[in-house]
């Protein structure tokens, strides 16, 4: 335990540079900043005179628009020759000289430096212990693209980007109501990542909101570089494969969830926003369901649920049937399977494990390697798994079909891929050791532990169990929009 402390930096003990308040001496402020960022050439400090008063500018090159700084701040200030009201110069500069909508005054130099690092221009005026923060940010960002995950057939083509403001804008334009409320927080001692807590006033439950705020405030992390950093903190404390925190890359989905009374969390620097709490059935719902006709939406939800079950249980069940319950196979099928499997090298359990390992490896390789050679891997994978292994007598053809089926099904509910990948290996092992009865016991454990998950007062398996008739209109089935419109899904009605 002791060594641990030496190896890892304790976040609490990291000392921070403290600036204190803004000094009246403008040059002194500039010097402090320069000294703090010694060696960082992107921090630019410039001195000038405005109507005889010393003015110091500080900005972070690259995070702001230099043209805008020159045109809207520096040139008007330095070229001003008129009279300034005595003792009220700061106000005068803000109101009459520099042009821009985003400006504020700040007395704390620490905060001012924080803002500097977020792309604003700091203007220190001689004789004032306040500085002007002038918004000229131009943080490099990706354009709004179609999201790679959460793909929808008929939904909007906009996805979140890494920029907090853009993301907020994308949501705001979908929720034009004063009830849509945003609270800003910071997370990460070093990264000071900005986090927006978004919710719908009147629909959100106060206890849930308080709990989310509590958990966000108690985060003690050095850096927050992605949504996953916060997900753990917001999630249920129980050891489980499933998560009660949703993640989306789509502003439309995000807006819809907020309307259901949930709380959305947008994190700066990642296109993935979080939504709490998330129910189990949400894994089988997509935005397309609300655009498609109800009967088709219901059908597809059923298909997705079935795919989930197949992807978790099919290999395990196949192994257990092949080893323990051969009588379950219809006669002709048994004959074919027997002939094909009899000539393979490994036992069924081992076969299933090997082929899943190969599949997961190919998948991981396809995900991580440079896109240009992605096709090569899929060709090799398909050839090796598909044909050669069977011909060589390593793997039986039925097992290959089972794994292919499983692989396709597991991609249907992409949010559940992680638990699925682990669970199916577990079920193969259980099925190979104890047959269907073991699988059933495993399934019972799975369901009971899912049923035990309750976070933010919301049971994970709601509204199926505890059964909530009204919410069933839009859970596994979806009734028509006209009827749904009046009874919007309200997450708080399942709170216990």
């Amino acid at each position: 335990m002791k060594e641990n402390k030496q190896i890892f930096i304790n976040v609490d003990t990291v000392s921070e540079f403290e600036f204190g308040d803004v000094r009246e001496n403008a040059v002194e402020n500039g010097r402090l900043i320069k000294e703090a960022f010694k060696g960082s050439f992107d921090i630019v400090v410039k001195k000038g005179y405005c109507a005889g008063k010393c003015v110091v500018f500080a900005n972070c090159d690259g995070l702001c628009n230099s043209q805008k700084i020159a045109d809207n701040a520096i040139r008007p200030l330095l070229s001003y020759n008129g009279i300034m009201p005595e003792g009220n110069e700061l106000e005068f500069i803000c109101d009459n000289i520099i042009c821009g909508t985003e400006q504020q005054k700040q007395t704390s130099l620490d905060t001012a430096v924080d803002m500097l690092l977020r792309g604003t221009l700091l203007i220190f005026v001689e004789g004032f212990n306040q500085c002007i923060i002038f918004g000229v940010q131009q943080i490099p960002e990706r354009s709004i693209d179609e999201p790679d995950t959460d793909v929808q057939e008929f939904g909007s083509r906009e996805g979140f980007t890494e920029n907090l403001k853009t993301n907020l804008t994308l949501v705001r334009k979908r929720l034009c109501t004063p009830n849509f409320t945003i609270e800003m927080k910071e997370a990460g001692v070093q990264s000071k990542t900005r986090v927006l807590v978004c919710y719908m006033k009147g629909r959100v439950n106060k206890d849930v909101l308080q709990k989310v705020n509590e958990r966000l405030n108690n985060i003690n992390m050095d850096t927050v570089l992605g949504s996953g950093y916060l997900q753990k903190a917001l999630d249920t404390k129980r050891l489980t494969l499933f998560s009660m925190v949703g993640q989306t890359e789509r502003p439309d989905t995000f807006a819809a969830k907020i309307c259901e009374g949930k709380i959305g969390i947008i994190i700066d620097g990642t296109p993935f926003a979080l939504i709490v709490p998330r129910l189990f059935i949400e894994n089988f719902q997509t935005l397309d369901d609300y655009i498609n006709r109800p009967f088709y939406a219901t059908f597809m939800r059923g298909v997705r649920l079935l795919s989930f079950l197949i992807s978790v249980f099919l290999p395990g069940v196949f192994v257990s049937v092949g080893l323990f319950h051969q009588e379950m196979l219809p006669d002709d099928m048994l004959y074919n399977i027997v002939v094909m499997e009899s000539n393979t090298l490994f036992t069924l359990t081992l076969e299933a494990l090997i082929i899943h390992f190969v599949y997961e490896t190919v998948r991981e390789a396809g995900l991580r390697m440079p896109k240009s050679i992605g096709h090569a891997v899929s060709i090799v994978g398909a050839l090796v798994i598909g044909d050669a292994a069977v011909t060589a007598g390593l793997i039986g053809a039925p097992m290959l079909i089972v794994v292919a089926m499983t692989a396709i099904c597991s991609l249907v509910s992409s949010h559940l891929y992680q638990p699925i990948a682990v669970l199916r290996i577990v079920f193969i092992l259980i099925g190979g050791a104890t047959g269907l009865y073991g699988i059933m016991i495993g399934a019972a454990v799975l369901v009971i532990s899912l049923a035990s998950m309750t976070d933010y007062g919301v049971p994970f398996l709601a509204p199926i169990t505890p059964f909530e008739k009204n919410l069933m209109r839009d859970s596994l089935v979806r009734i028509s929009m006209e009827k749904l419109g009046k009874n919007i899904f309200d997450i708080n009605s399942v709170r216990e």
Binding site: L323, E327, V339, M340, S342, A397, I430
Partner: protein, 388 residues
């Protein structure tokens, strides 16, 4: 304390996982280690019983992708032992694989086995967890069960499957009763009912052989063989025992024509009364048929009269069939194969208790009156106006 608890529970879980994993190697039975039995023939041998089994040939040298070679689909093994179980166990030593009864389709009893006690033979199948209660049983008429299992059929198929299909379809055609293990045991446990098991044989067909249905074998209350019922007599069983499924009826029309009907559905109703100290069973057989063929081809008109005639002829044909069966059953070696006793038991329990001990005689003395009601549902595509 918490730490200790965690360590202990972790250790328990790990050891369990290990136990489970180590059993991976031997848990269950690999498909290639199974001797998948398709049909079992039981004959009498010197030691006791001789078992002939047809098993799936799962050691084909075909590629694992499933294109099997020209090898046979099935193999035949046999073994003898002093009981059915011990003979079956000996099969393991022959093939090296574990016998697997769950997919067994049919149990064939050789002529000599049938003449011995049935319960001995069936006990194994009743007790064994693997063997399903719905396996069919049949008797090899005038031959060994081995002959049936080893029959040289034209194509390389699973013979037992063909036999099973034959027995199933014969049952669907109301030709013979269906006797599964559960039916056989039920009948044996019943105090009055004789057991009728379908009888099969093989017939030479050029260089090959075919299965044929040879009526039924009748077993008495002590489970010993009484007699064979001919194919026609076996057909009557379905009408007398309310087991009418589908099937056909041929009838002679008064003008010399022949008509054939397909039974769509049928039901037999019973009424039991006691007359002059004898039991009188009043049976009403309701049949719904489709007219399939009218042979002998003379022009016939559309009138109701003709319809009545063909209905009457069909009824008479069924009545004749049933009557013949009844006569055979009530003959010297016969017995209650049509559950008259069981029906009395449900209908009038007190009377049954009185007659139970002497049921064989009561059955033979009982009277039966038959009434057959035929409804013609369809007459096919040909109209009555067609001239020939």
């Amino acid at each position: 304390m918490r730490k200790i608890y965690r360590t202990i529970s972790l250790m328990v879980l790990c050891s369990l996982a290990l136990l489970n994993l180590s059993s991976c190697e031997k848990a269950g039975t690999e498909l290639s280690d199974l001797m998948i039995i398709q049909g079992i023939g039981i004959d009498v041998a010197k030691e006791g019983y001789k078992i002939t089994v047809e098993i799936l040939n799962n050691e084909q040298s075909g590629s694992p992708s499933g294109d099997s070679s020209a090898e046979n689909k099935t193999k035949i093994y046999n073994a003898a032992g002093d009981s059915v179980a011990s003979a079956l166990m000996k099969l393991t030593t022959k093939s090296g694989n574990k016998p697997f009864y769950a997919q067994n389709r049919v149990i064939v009893l050789g002529e000599a086995t049938a003449q011995r006690n049935l319960t001995d033979v069936l006990d194994f199948f009743e007790r064994n967890y693997d063997s399903r209660a719905s396996q069919l049983i049949c008797v090899a008429k005038d031959r060994k069960a081995e002959d049936i299992i080893r029959a040289k059929l034209l194509t390389d198929t699973v013979k037992s499957k063909i036999l099973e299909k034959m027995l199933e379809s014969s049952y669907e055609q109301s030709l013979v009763p269906r006797v599964r293990i559960v039916d056989a045991i039920n009948t044996i446990k019943d105090d009055t009912t004789y057991l009728c098991i379908p009888a099969v044989a093989v017939q030479n067909n050029g260089a090959n052989q075919d299965f044929t249905l040879e009526g039924c074998a009748l077993f008495d209350k002590d489970e010993s063989f009484c007699m064979y019922l001919s194919t026609d007599d076996a057909r009557g069983l379905a009408f007398l025992d309310n087991n009418i499924r589908e099937g056909f009826i041929s009838a002679d029309l008064p003008n010399g024509q022949k008509a054939t009907f397909v039974i769509v559905k049928g039901k037999t109703h019973y009424q039991i009364i006691k007359e002059n100290g004898k039991l009188h069973y009043k049976l009403r057989i309701d049949l719904v048929c489709d007219l399939e063929e009218v042979g002998g081809a003379e022009f016939f008109s559309t009138d109701d009269d003709f319809m009545e005639k063909i209905k009457g002829a069909a009824g008479a044909s069924v009545a004749q069939l049933a009557e013949n069966t009844l006569i055979t059953l009530q003959s010297e070696h016969g017995g209650d194969g049509i559950r008259y006793g069981r029906r009395l038991y449900l209908y009038d329990n007190n009377e049954y208790e009185k007659l139970k001990s002497n049921w064989e005689k009561e059955f033979k003395n009982s009277l039966t009156s038959l009434k057959v009601q035929v409804t013609i549902r369809r007459i096919g595509e040909e109209t009555f106006h067609s001239k020939k």
